[in-house]
Structure formats: structure tokens, C-alpha cells
Amino acid sequence: MTVTTLAPQKSISKTVAGTTVTMTPEQADAFGRELDALKERVIADLGERDTTYIRRIIKAQRGLEVAGRAMLFGGIFPPFWLAGTAMLGLSKILDNMEIGHNVMHGQYDWTGDPALSSKTFEWDTACPADQWRHSHNYMHHTYTNIVGMDRDIGYGILRMSEDQRWRPYFLGNPVYAFLLMVLFQYGVALHELETERIRAGEITLADKREILNGIWRKTKRQTLKDYVAFPLLSGPFAPWVFAGNLTANLIRNVWSYMIIFCGHFPEDVQEFSIEETKAETRGQWYFRQVLGSANLTGGKLFHILSGNLSFQIEHHLFPDIPAHRHAEIATEVREICKRYGVPYNSGSLPRQFGTVVRKIVKLALPSRSAATAGS
């Protein structure tokens, strides 16, 4: 985030769904101050309630995991297999979303609990936590939706923005997107490898040796656990355990892919250029975070299973306050945005994901005219 104040500041302006939103430097400063004040209020209120909340989620996750794996040992009986697989899938979703993602953001660092420390937490997925912290907490959250800086735009394999130049390779956009969904944990694991830069010849695989070693170490243990150790321990029931673990990982992959793609890719979510975000003030950074994110509507359980990423806007404004607080402040954030005329993108999962799928398909083809690009 660039907070350097350079006078005179320029107004910022974006066209969202045909309406132009403009903010003068003064308005942006005032907008930023209101959001800062909101954040300070939440931080001053953090305490036992938050620690109790996350420990309850952790307890539920570990309980579902142990029970799910135990059930799968009896997976030769279909009800046991179905229940065990569902429980293990839920456990992995909770572990990755509401616990892992949020703990690694430093949302619970203030507790001083080593088990909730962003520096040391490791999650139940192929991606090594330290690599995630760099690519996600630092790169994605700082340079959100800046084309050419935020590698979450297309993850180096998809065309998710008109501003990404079309190449014949992108004809396969829907196929790559489907494969990424099914194999999502491995897609996330390979993120720091920057395969697109390797393909472009900017760097070689040798430059990424350490990253690759880290991915290998983590993925190896995860694979041994889910696909070798637990199946073998179940003796003659190995095929059922193997299939259950595979399905649980698939459930988690599809779910987290859908939630994450709904964070920044639905219709009307804005992208930014490096040029227009130069010398951005704090207020302008907040402005970009709101316009570059989209929320999902749903019930309490839905929000928990999404890791409260359904409050993507609040999460991007305040990535290090406990995510269960985002629901509580959403009304206020929305009200502040309304007063400053900043559109607040929110919709149901089917609606938002529908527009994401449409974008994936549409961007497989070259943009119709130069006028639509970079608008």
C-alpha cells in the first residue's frame, strides 16, 4: 500500500455498470478516516469473545475430522462412507477457510497464542503456509486487482480481465478453469512458482528451486497422509478410505474455488492499472479495495463455511481483524460506502458465480473492440 502523500492529489474515477464514481482527494481522505475509525473501534473491542469463537471453530473442525476419518474406516457401508466423506470435506473446508486463511492473516496474532499465530500456522492443504502468506497476504492484499501486479487475476493461467491481452492459448479458458476447480489445492500450491513467468522465459525453474522444494515437502506429506497412510491403516477397506479422502478433497476444492472466484471476478468488479494506482493515498486504497471486491449473501452457516470471505469487501478493507467480525460491521461499511457513492457489490452465490462463469467463457475469445478493453 502506498501512503505517500504527494500534493496535489488527483481525483479518482471509475465507471461501474454505466455509472461513473468519482472521489476528490478530500473525499477519499474523509472516506479513509471513517473506515480507519471503524477499524480502531473493532480492534479496541477484541477479546475473549473472539478467542472463544475461533477455538470453538477449531474444536468443531478437529471433531469433524476425527469422526469423519473414523466413519470412513467403516466406509464399506454406504451411509458410513457418505457421512464420513461429508464430515472430512467439511473439516477441510473449515480448516482452510475460517481457520487457516484467517489465522494466517494475523487476525488472531493479538491473542499471543502460538497455535493461532500467523507466523507458524500450517493448514491442511497442499500449499505451504509460508508461500501463501507471501503471495496472498502481501501481494494480493496490497496490490488487489491491479492488472500486472495482482497474480490472483487469472493465477497466471486464466484470462480473467479484458486488460489481459488475448492469445490463442486462452481459447481453452473454460477448460483450464474447470481443471483448476477440480485440482484447486494443487493450483494454489503452485501459485508461488509463477509458471507464467517461467513459460515466458523471464525466469527458469532453477530460480524457483527453493519454492519447488517447499511445495514438494508439503504436498508429499499431505499425499502420504490422505492417499497412503490412512487407506493402508484401514486394511481391507483401503479403497473406500482412499475414495472418501479423494472426494473430501474434491468437495473442499470445488467449494473454496467457487467462494474465492466470487471474491473478485463477478460482474462489475473493477480492475485497476499500475498507472492509476501510483501514489495512492490510504483513502484511495480503501476505494480500490471496495470496488475490487464482491460479497456473497447467505445465512450464518454459509458465512462460516466461506471463511467469512462472503464479506470479501470487509475482508479486503480490514484483512487482519477476525473475520467473524466482518458480518457485524458490514451494515456500517455499506452505509459509509453509500454516503460516498461507492458501489457495494453483493449478491447470492448462484448469481455471482453465474457472472464469473460467463466471464470465463467470454474472455476465452478476443475482446470485440479495443474500446471495451481497459474501459
Binding site: 472463544t52 478437529r62 491442511d124
Partner: protein, 351 residues
């Protein structure tokens, strides 16, 4: 015993580590019983007693991960207060090797953890035993004539030493001067009175007529208790430690109250690089910990007075000054306690 060892061996096996990865087996067993952990030393409070109006004595049952302490050392105790873990050093009063740890915690102004324990400690409460440290310990060959001096809650490490020597069946000549505000506030008075082979003298600063000694420590107290001892151990407020060291320069000492250290008259103006975070600031003379926090970083910290080592970080280059000892570090890479260290010129910290 056999089943316990077997359980431990199974839980510590590489297979269980793989199966419970990436969190590790402790993150599962602790949900069954908070003290059921292999790597994290923890203890359960099994009794709370009130010996004096302003103190609470806690009896702790440590789990098997706790490796013990030497008499006189402190344990960095972790307690959760309003959702936050707080770590503070406490010197146990129990003997070295005793099955239970005994802590006597005095309430005092601004003592967040001590006051919390005084008010809220209950049987069943679980605390963390983070680490053990301190070189306020007896030599393996016990000196022939030992004088112990303590003030207030400084009595606890001395009690640990006395009880340890007693358990050993020691034949050493021991004198012990303890200072408290009044007889009512003197912890362990009855036990000390009944302890054979120890000459115990009480000094009460607010009701001198009750005690054996009048006023504060001086040559007369020393002469009354034990003239020219072989070893002196003093633990208490800085003024007491200072008074004892004036008469017995070789005294071993420990002080519970944060030392008041002067900030260097002028900041070095050097550049502090918190290399791992990519943050650099210009030295303003405060401790590295405070300056790191002011820069928005969140280094681990504990006592903030230079004794618990929770905040220790690697200094990769540059010189720092330790405010408690005044010692200058070398320029080489070494671990420094950032809560009591200030930069002397440019420094790089691995944070």
C-alpha cells in the same frame, strides 16, 4: 506406567505425526484434556490457598512435558486474560524435583497477571509453563555458611532453595532474613518457624516492633544474622538488593521489580532494519521492541524487563546496548532481547 509410556511412544511416533499433520498430535489431544500435550509444558491448578491477605498460593500439577527447574530459577508462566495469553516469570517456592509446583503470587499495583491470578486462580485452571530460566541458583557443592535475604514476594526462590536443601538432608549453616510489611503479610512464617537448622529473622517495615530486626538491611542486620557468610543470596526489590550488595559485594541477586533504566540521553539516529518484514525506521532511542511495535510490527514479547527471553530475536548486524546491564554487543550476529536493547548506530534485526 507401562501403558503411559506406550501411549506416549505411540503419540510421539512419526506415523502419528503424519496422520495428525500439519497441526500435530498436541492440537488434538489438548481438546480432550488441555494438559494432555507432548511438546507444550502445561500445568493444572489443583489448589489455591491464601496464606496472607495480599497473596495467593497456587499448587500446580505439571504435565509430563515439563522438564523441571532448579531451585531459585523462574518459570515463564502463561495465563489467558480476556482472550490474550500473557507470560510473566514466577519463581516457584517448591523444592527442586517436587511433584507439584508451588507459586506464591502477591497482588500489586499494575500487576496484570499477578492480580488476575490473585483474583481468579481456581482449581482446574490450566496455565502454560513456557520456559525455565535464571541463574539465581545454588552451586552443586553447597556453600558451608549461607545467608539468604528476601523482601516481599522475593521469598519464593529462597523458599525453594531452603526446601531443596532440607530435602537433601543438608547440614549447612543457614540464616535467612525476610522483610515484609507486617507479620500478617509475611508468607511462610509458620513453616519457617518450624524449619530446623535455619536461623530465621523477620523484619517488618510497617510494624517494626513485631519483628526480630528493626528497619532496613544494614551492617547490624548482617552481623545479627550471620557475620561473614560464605555465600549470600538476595531476592527482592531493587533497594534491598542494592543495600545487600553494598555490604556483600559477591551476593547473588535477583530483583522482581522492573529496573528503572535511563533511556540513552540521545538516540543514535541510526537505521533499524527489521529485515524480514521489510520495514526500516530511524532510531528514536526507545527499545527495539517499542520501536518495532511503533512501526506496526508484532514481535513476541513477555516480561518487557529483560528476564524472560520471549522477545529474543536474531540481530544480524550492528551493535546494540543492553539497558539493564549497560553491555554493548559485538557487531556479529547474535540473539538479543529486544525489550531491553537499544541500537548503537545501524542495526539489522531478523524480524
Amino acid at each position: 506406567m507401562f501403558t503411559q509410556t506406550l501411549t506416549k511412544r505411540v503419540l510421539a511416533s512419526p506415523l502419528v505425526d503424519l496422520l495428525t499433520g500439519p497441526h500435530g498430535v498436541d492440537r488434538y489431544t489438548e481438546l480432550v484434556t488441555p494438559t494432555w500435550t507432548l511438546a507444550d509444558a502445561r500445568a493444572k491448578v489443583i489448589a489455591v490457598r491464601r496464606q496472607t491477605p495480599r497473596s495467593a498460593t497456587l499448587i500446580l500439577e505439571p504435565n509430563r512435558a515439563f522438564a523441571g527447574f532448579r531451585a531459585g530459577q523462574h518459570i515463564n508462566l502463561t495465563v489467558e486474560i480476556d482472550g490474550r495469553l500473557r507470560t510473566r516469570p514466577y519463581s516457584p517456592a517448591s523444592a527442586e524435583g517436587a511433584p507439584h509446583i508451588e507459586l506464591t503470587v502477591g497482588r500489586h499495583d499494575g500487576g496484570l497477571v499477578s492480580n488476575y491470578l490473585y483474583e481468579h486462580a481456581r482449581p482446574g485452571m490450566v496455565v502454560g509453563l513456557d520456559s525455565v530460566g535464571g541463574d539465581f541458583v545454588l552451586p552443586d557443592v553447597r556453600p558451608r555458611r549461607i545467608l539468604f535475604v528476601s523482601g516481599g514476594s522475593g521469598i519464593t526462590p529462597v523458599m525453594s532453595m531452603l526446601r531443596t536443601m532440607r530435602a537433601e538432608g543438608s547440614d549447612r549453616e543457614i540464616a535467612f532474613i525476610h522483610y515484609a510489611r507486617s507479620g500478617q503479610e509475611a508468607c511462610y512464617r509458620d513453616e519457617l518457624a518450624a524449619m530446623a537448622g535455619v536461623r530465621v529473622l523477620h523484619g517488618y517495615t510497617r510494624s517494626p516492633e513485631e519483628g526480630d530486626l528493626d528497619g532496613y538491611f544494614g551492617a547490624d542486620h548482617l552481623a545479627t544474622a550471620m557475620p561473614s557468610p560464605d555465600a549470600v543470596y538476595v531476592c527482592g526489590p531493587p533497594a534491598l538488593v542494592e543495600a545487600v550488595r553494598k555490604h556483600c559485594a559477591d551476593a547473588n541477586w535477583e530483583s522482581f521489580v522492573p529496573p528503572v533504566f535511563g533511556v540513552p540521553s540521545e538516540p543514535s539516529g541510526g537505521r533499524i532494519a527489521f529485515a524480514d518484514s521489510g520495514v526500516a525506521v530511524t532510531d528514536d532511542g526507545r527499545s527495539l521492541l517499542e520501536q518495532a511495535e511503533a512501526a506496526g510490527l508484532k514481535p513476541e514479547s513477555g516480561c518487557r524487563m529483560g528476564i524472560c527471553h520471549t522477545c529474543t530475536l536474531r540481530k544480524t548486524s550492528g551493535v546494540v546496548k543492553n539497558l539493564t546491564t549497560g553491555a554493548m554487543s559485538s557487531t556479529e550476529a547474535e540473539d538479543v532481547q529486544i525489550c531491553v536493547s537499544v541500537p548503537v548506530g545501524d542495526v539489522d534485526i531478523a524480524l
